[in-house]
């Protein structure tokens, strides 16, 4: 007797030896997806499109996903949190089974995902899109409790609202301090977009306030463009200090709202936003899928975890450089992983990987800049396509910046509709 598992193991060869009616009677293959964000929700949706015969389950403890993209607009008071929250109803209507629970661990030999309550979901393939966790041990004085005083707001939701409330309570003339980690971290240009949008809020509501950015590095994504924009829109309201000028923060006193640099300079803030070093989400670490870097090495052609069996990992948790940890890239990786899984389970050749990324950043509500790239696999590695990609031009006119700001909004509407379904 040939079991379904034999079928899956044998792949195309096993399928070819069987008559179609037998195949039709086999139990459907099961794919379990952990994480309903950009990577996971894309993988689940695309699996339904590509292989309707596969049973897809989406596991996430939250009732809806709140996007980090555009959460800086919530901080600036330009959007509400509901407008960046996306439930899973449209995915359920596609036939995806949703399980609202936290994933606890992976039983790799038994191919079961164990949930927080001890129950287990069997799978033929597992897709993890666990995002990032803060490294609470990486920055002295900054643990989970400290984050309730000096928010990171680097996972959107309650943390975003907390930082927003603190900004609203800021007195005019007050100092906002933001600390930024070294690479890699989620959304490389995100801190700098945040600087501009907080400055936009302060310029209108607290015009004598200032923002000080303490950075653990000297170069960052779209640096020249951001600095040009900050100067143009906010004058001397924004000050950025890089690593070479003692910008690296090594200790935080959240209760006193103090950030201490490598050379011992103490910066006292009225509002302290600490973006700490990060790592792959807990489920990936507990399953042994991460290496010493704290991130998950993957095979570029399928985003299968190098340190796992029948497990694909997508999104910010992975080592996918030169692809950045962006929602756009996570979605593309989810698309590839689902195509690779559908091909493998269906006995078809794997698709050739291809990705794009476009990260828009708003310096102000009508001032957008972008970085774009095209990626392929070359010699077993992810590589940018030579001659393609790049950032917006320096010195562009206001019409160009306004167009990119408009496209930033268009991008958000498009990618969220593409992943979670159109807003109703």
């Amino acid at each position: 007797m040939i079991t379904r598992r034999d079928l899956l193991r044998g792949g195309a060869a096993a399928l070819a030896t069987l008559a179609a009616p037998h195949v039709a009677r086999a139990a459907p293959a099961r794919v379990v997806v952990v994480g309903g964000g950009f990577g996971g929700a894309t993988a689940a949706r695309q699996l339904r499109r590509l292989a309707p015969e596969i049973a897809v389950t989406l596991v996430d403890p939250a009732p809806r996903f709140v996007t980090c993209p555009f959460s800086n607009l919530v901080l600036a008071g330009l959007r509400n949190i509901g407008s960046i929250s996306h439930d899973f109803a449209a995915l359920e209507r596609l036939g995806i089974t949703r399980v609202q629970a936290a994933a606890r661990e992976i039983d790799q030999s038994g191919r079961r995902l164990v949930l927080a309550d001890g129950s287990a979901l069997p799978y033929d393939r597992l897709v993890l899109s666990p995002g990032v966790d803060m490294r609470w041990d990486a920055l002295e004085g900054y643990d989970e409790a400290a984050a309730s005083l000096a928010p990171h707001a680097w996972k959107a939701g309650e943390q975003t609202l907390l930082l927003r409330r603190q900004l609203e309570a800021l007195e005019d003339g007050g100092l906002v301090v933001m600390t930024v980690p070294d690479n890699p971290y989620r959304c490389p240009p995100g801190p700098y977009e945040r600087v501009g949008l907080i400055a936009h809020y302060l310029k209108t509501a607290r015009p004598r306030a200032k923002i000080l950015v303490l950075d653990a590095k000297d170069a960052f994504s779209k640096k020249a463009l951001f600095q040009e924009g900050w100067k143009a829109l906010y004058g001397d309201m924004v000050e950025w200090i890089g690593q070479a000028d003692d910008g690296a923060v090594v200790r935080v006193d959240a209760a006193r709202r103090e950030a201490v640099t490598a050379f011992g300079t103490v910066h006292k803030a009225a509002v302290l936003n600490v973006i700490p070093p990060q790592q792959a989400g807990a489920i990936a670490r507990r399953a042994g899928l991460t290496d010493a870097s704290g991130w998950v090495p993957v095979k570029p052609e399928s985003f299968a975890a190098r340190q796992g069996e029948h497990i694909h990992v997508v999104g910010d948790a992975t080592q996918a450089a030169p692809m950045p940890k962006s929602g756009f890239c996570a979605s593309g990786q989810g698309r590839l992983a689902s195509a690779a899984i559908a091909a493998e389970l269906g006995g078809r050749p794997a698709p050739r990987p291809a990705w794009m990324n476009t990260c828009y950043s708003l310096v102000g509500p009508d001032y957008g800049i972008s970085v774009a790239d095209v990626y392929r696999v070359a010699e077993g590695r992810i590589a940018t396509v030579p001659g393609a990609g790049g950032v917006s031009p320096l010195g562009a006119d206001s019409a160009f910046r306004a167009a990119e700001a408009r496209f930033a909004g268009g991008w958000y509407d498009a990618i969220t509709a593409d992943i979670w379904g159109p807003r109703r």
């Binding site: 794009m356 019409a399 167009a403 991008w411 958000y412 509709a417």
Partner: protein, 109 residues
């Protein structure tokens, strides 16, 4: 015709020998992978819900001409499209145009 055939064969051989890897016509599955990323800005199945132009259901030739013009940097005021299209071989751009021309102009949610 009979005399032309060997010449065509030789030309095809020459092209196969000199063309870069990406210059073959992508399979349907590979074309879908190439086209997937477009939807992250232009919307599900190329139908945009917002400020981006929709690309689904536009004539194949129109799309191909436009994308090649972006690739060549010939459209003033372009933001990201030239940067992106420079990463695609002409055969891949043809596949993108074919893919989106075949989709319905307006997808029903």
């Amino acid at each position: 015709m009979k005399q032309l055939a060997p010449a065509l064969g030789a030309a095809a051989l020459l092209m196969a020998a000199t063309a870069p890897v990406a210059a073959e016509t992508p399979s349907a599955a590979d074309a879908a992978m190439l086209a997937g990323g477009c939807m992250s800005c232009h919307g599900p199945q190329g139908a945009s819900p917002g400020a981006m132009p929709s690309i689904a259901g536009r004539p194949e030739q129109e799309l191909a001409t436009l994308l090649l013009a972006f690739r060549a940097g010939e459209i003033p005021g372009t933001t990201v499209m030239t940067r992106l299209m420079k990463g695609f071989a002409p055969e891949e751009i043809a596949a993108l145009a074919r893919y989106y021309a075949a989709l319905p102009a307006r997808s029903t949610p």
